[in-house]
């Protein structure tokens, strides 16, 4: 049986359809990523799965328990790390932990084996008010609080948003460690690069799940041929691109211009170079590259449209 089984869940807020017919399953022991831009519906789905919000229609089970009827039992066996810092800033690190442990009728010592790696990092600051910790430390404390009752399922809502790259990497190492201790992890993130650290990911956009697969499969399933080109005038380039006849997809990618060809690359590439020259555009070297998750995400959204 799956740890999470979601069937046809819908949720709307007034005129906004936040979730449209969501179906997905999460298996025991995996790190499952919910990847999508802000406003895609990640947090709404999390609120429903953590029994804080009721769906308009559809059903879901968590660890075999129904999210609507068995919500009290579910709350005992899941951990939740919210997207914004939600601990008591005037309470010290230790006091916050003690408090949340007591809410689960547990104690710090009872579950030391699971929180040990994080607790060791927090120990030097245990008497400091939680509000005075650095961003990374705050997240580690919140994670510690979410794990204090040894949940079998852990929900992390954008745990690394606003955290520096070094702390982000550390945080993901900790997640892997938690996974190895037998906890199933569901994590949402707007960062595409983090998606590759998940076992499976669901790409979500405008309340729709576009794709559920392993990161490697998603990259392997990339349909087109991706090329990149440095350019100093992305805006000008974007303006003339609709005059290019061959089937392609293009978008700015940092300082670069990404273009995906769907015809034979041997014909498409020279045609594109010719097109650029005809329009009098100076361009850098065009090179073929491997797509990353972000390129795949953009392609999948384009195909949906």
């Amino acid at each position: 049986m799956s740890e999470i089984d979601i069937q046809h869940i819908n949720k709307r807020f007034g005129k906004v359809e936040a979730l449209k017919d969501i179906n997905l399953t999460v298996e025991a022991g995996e790190v499952f990523g919910l990847v999508g831009p802000d406003g895609a519906g990640k947090s709404t789905l999390f609120n429903i799965l953590t029994t804080l919000l009721l769906p308009d229609s559809g059903s879901a089970t968590i660890l075999g328990m129904d999210i609507i009827n068995d919500y009290l039992q579910i709350r005992r066996s899941i951990g939740y790390l919210p997207g914004v810092f939600s601990l008591y800033p005037d309470l010290s690190v230790q006091e916050n932990l003690d408090f949340f442990a007591a809410m689960y009728k547990s104690s710090i010592r009872d579950n030391m084996n699971i929180i040990k790696p994080i607790w060791d990092q927090l120990l030097p600051f245990k008497d400091r008010p939680a509000g005075k910790l650095s961003g990374g430390m705050k997240q580690k404390l919140a994670l510690c609080c979410a794990l204090i009752h040894k949940p079998s399922l852990l929900f992390l809502d954008e745990p690394t948003t606003g955290v520096d790259p070094v702390s982000r990497r550390e945080f993901w190492d900790i997640l892997k460690d938690i996974q190895h201790k037998g906890v199933t992890v569901v994590v949402s993130t707007p960062y595409m690069d983090e998606a590759t650290r998940c076992d499976r990911i669901a790409l979500i956009q405008n309340g729709n799940i576009i794709e559920i697969n392993t990161p490697n499969n998603i990259i392997a399933n990339f349909k087109g041929h991706l090329c990149t080109m440095p350019t100093s005038d992305i805006f000008g380039l974007m303006k003339i691109m609709d005059r290019f006849e061959l089937k392609c997809n293009y978008y700015p990618y940092g300082e670069h211009f990404h273009i995906v060809f769907y015809d034979d690359i041997k014909k498409a590439l020279p045609a594109f170079e010719q097109f650029l020259e005809k329009n009098g555009r100076v361009h850098g070297e065009i090179s073929s590259i491997q797509p990353n998750i972000e390129d795949c995400f953009i392609e999948l959204i384009q195909m949906k449209l």
């Binding site: 804080l52 309470l91 408090f99 007591a102």
Partner: protein, 367 residues
Amino acid sequence: MKELRMILHKEMIHIMRDKITLFLVLAIPIMLVLLFGFTISTEIRNAKIAIFDQAKDSQSQTLIDKISSSGYFQVVAYPETESEIDQDFKDLDIKLAIIIPPNFEGSLENEKMATLQIIDDVSDLNVASILNNYILAICHDFINEYNGQGLEDGSIDIVTNMLYNPEANSVYMFVPGIITLIMIIVTALMSSITLAREKETGTMRMLLITPVKKVYVIVGKVIPYMGLSLISTIMIIVISVFVFKMPINGSIALLLLLCIIFMFTAASFGMMISAISKTQIDAMMVTMMGLFLPTVLLSGFLFPLDNMPMIFQILADIFPAKWFIIAIKDVMIKGSGFFDIWKYLGILILMAIVLIALSLGNVDKRK
């Protein structure tokens, strides 16, 4: 129960670490009592006056003694002509002058009446009318003691109105009012604001996601503030008894019981407010407009209810403050016992039960 103990402990930490709020909560009651007692007081002591005694007989001397020993007046001059009185108003800053007519004793003896002339400094109307009332009361006393038959002075009405506060002692009026306000500020406002703060900062979500009973969360929130407001109330009563000589004619145990019951009513208002407000601003506005203002305006504490239009009198019945103030005055001043005020206690308890039921029905709903 371990959870409830922990929530209480956490709440105490919040209170103890927020030094400024703690200081304000404890200092405001003291400040209010002292302010009302010493400055906003409608009571005037040692007002400077002058007496022009044209009679200089034994009765006029008795009246002068009564006036100067009342504590309200300090006779600073004994002018001998009317123009001297004018001078005294200007030079000595007297608030009032009394002219005792010639043959004062004779008039009382033979005609059974005498006319006292009082000249007020009406630049402060309030002060003047208060001082006039003092003089009237003292004259009334004087006449009673004089024991002259048939000496009507038309002050019977005043006597009945001021039966329990013959000298318009203002401390009797404001202490119950201040206790009411403090209980509402500390118990209802503080607990609903801090609960709304948990909603704002997201810690409420963290609590909701734990299996802890929501009743514990709310009760754990309210109890510490009830404790704080009980401390404040006791401080107010101690100050009013020892500094302002307010009597406690009834039993102290009954007084405390009454305060604790009102505290529950105020706390249940707080719970109701927290159930409907999502942010601290909401909580503050709802408490101010929905509870604090009606309490100030419609409790009979500042404005007499008898003169209000019917609609406001009915509104006043809905809020707990009116009943509490009636009851606390009965206990402290009239010395009423439990059986005199049980009706008011019943009303307050009933209000608390209704409000708690309403707000608990609202607590654990998911949307």
